[in-house]
Symmetry: C2
Subunit: 331 residues, 2 copies
Amino acid sequence: MLQTAPRHLQIAKVLRAELEKVGIIFSRQLHSDLDDVNALCEHVERYRGKMLRPTLLLLTALAVEGDPCDGSAISPRHRTVATVLEMIHMATLVHDDVLDEADFRRRGATVNSLRGNETAVMLGDYLISNAFHLCSTEGEPSINELLGSVTNTLCEGELLQLSNRENFELDVQTYMEILRRKTAVLVGACCRLGAALSNAPDAMVDAAERFGSHLGVAFQIQDDLLDLLGDLEVVGKSTGRDIATGKLTLPLLLHLQKESEAERKKTITMIRKCDQAGLRQRLEDSGSISAARAEANRLVSEAKNGLSAFEPSSARDLLHSLADAVVDRQA
Amino acid sequence: MLQTAPRHLQIAKVLRAELEKVGIIFSRQLHSDLDDVNALCEHVERYRGKMLRPTLLLLTALAVEGDPCDGSAISPRHRTVATVLEMIHMATLVHDDVLDEADFRRRGATVNSLRGNETAVMLGDYLISNAFHLCSTEGEPSINELLGSVTNTLCEGELLQLSNRENFELDVQTYMEILRRKTAVLVGACCRLGAALSNAPDAMVDAAERFGSHLGVAFQIQDDLLDLLGDLEVVGKSTGRDIATGKLTLPLLLHLQKESEAERKKTITMIRKCDQAGLRQRLEDSGSISAARAEANRLVSEAKNGLSAFEPSSARDLLHSLADAVVDRQA
């Protein structure tokens, strides 16, 4: 996801090495004496693409360390918690695919499409359970408590979204509250924990969390735009799922709120018919897609401004680039 | 579930009061600022019938205290952990109903039948998350670690069962391994924690866990018998789900393993046709139902024998009666 400038080669190397260690802890934690469980976990590990959440935790910790950066600021606890965060995220992906009835993820078949919803539900549970188990091996209950509270909120966000399926009266404020709960709180926690585990001062820990929260909302808006506008070939996962499952996202909400009653009815009919191409055109014409993009960009700017709480460093530069990449990505 | 003899009135009163406190902690933990989440949780709380798992934890703790018993041995931590165990169990019920495509539970509609699989999946996740969150508020990571390990095993058991759906070659040993993982380990943990939180000596803690494990397997065999033989009216939940979802349980496995090739084929055809009545008769005739019942009874006897690790007391008597009730129950 990141373009690396020459002056950042050293920190990129540190990050790559740390992410590899996270991958090893991930696989080790999920290892079972049952072959079938291992086969399922290996399948899921293929989803592990960007590793955005561990990357954010590690880069935030490195930004606390500052330059010169040899990565000595990364402790075993940073790695364990980074793995826990990725595992929680992976569990939500597996259950999300059940919710969205999606067939493809990261250019591969989803667990639900290959093995049925039942196995996908249980595999997601196995991932959640292992995340909490791994977390508790750190012997620091405050981390368990923080992450338990984060996943409570995450589930509330998903339930709030589910209860608003096909609610054409949904307002933008409630939609933003859904994104805050289902995405931003976890991404915020990655940055908070990265700073906190590096014993950063409280103000810096809070700034890190705010950076992550803003980034999380921007990330989700971009995800929703890709679902609306992208092609399976480019995005690598099923698209058009939001409309197919009655999930109204920002461009659609911005569009609906400025339409006349008669035009609204037409839009709603197109949603019900899953007329993806027609809707794209309609939202493009009304400027709702660029308005949603502008909101994502605004959030990224706000996130980047918050990085001034950190001293200038290579790690801070990379967090900066990462924030840009979140809205520039096509997959 | 329990008949109370006059000499046990005191302890039954203590237990009832404690279970009420557990119910309050349960509701308080799940309370959300979102009305819809609260409505879903209130619905699920109606499933909270027997409260077998908190009962086992509390009774084991009271058996460590011995007579006279005024319940002073029950600490806030006992209550919290008892609530966590019930919440984990409730999460498995909600996800199980998705897996079994069940419509009824405790004489009420299941979440999946009322609100769809998606909501049931997320609500189950909300319960798991809250269970781990509540557990971590105790500030004792070893409990989180034990329960994380228990739920890892529980999910493995469910996955093992799923991968053996419609496997007519499934052997009894693997089936017992499924029960051990998906049911016995959690019930064993209830009794272990009841004793451990009361600072019982190690040998007693281990004996308590063995009691719970045996009871758990017996409980599941009885559950499977009720699914095969019971009526919705009496059992209060959907029956015949095991055959409908290709889940082979003990009576069927015992039957299949002694049949000739030609007879096996007939049985398998009946399973595929979901010929519940025909199968009942066939298994009754071959003695497989009584053989499964005998195995459940044997496990209950073994469980009860293990109670000799405790001094005689009213609480021990109640554990004894509870073990009998597990196989005598019709719901």
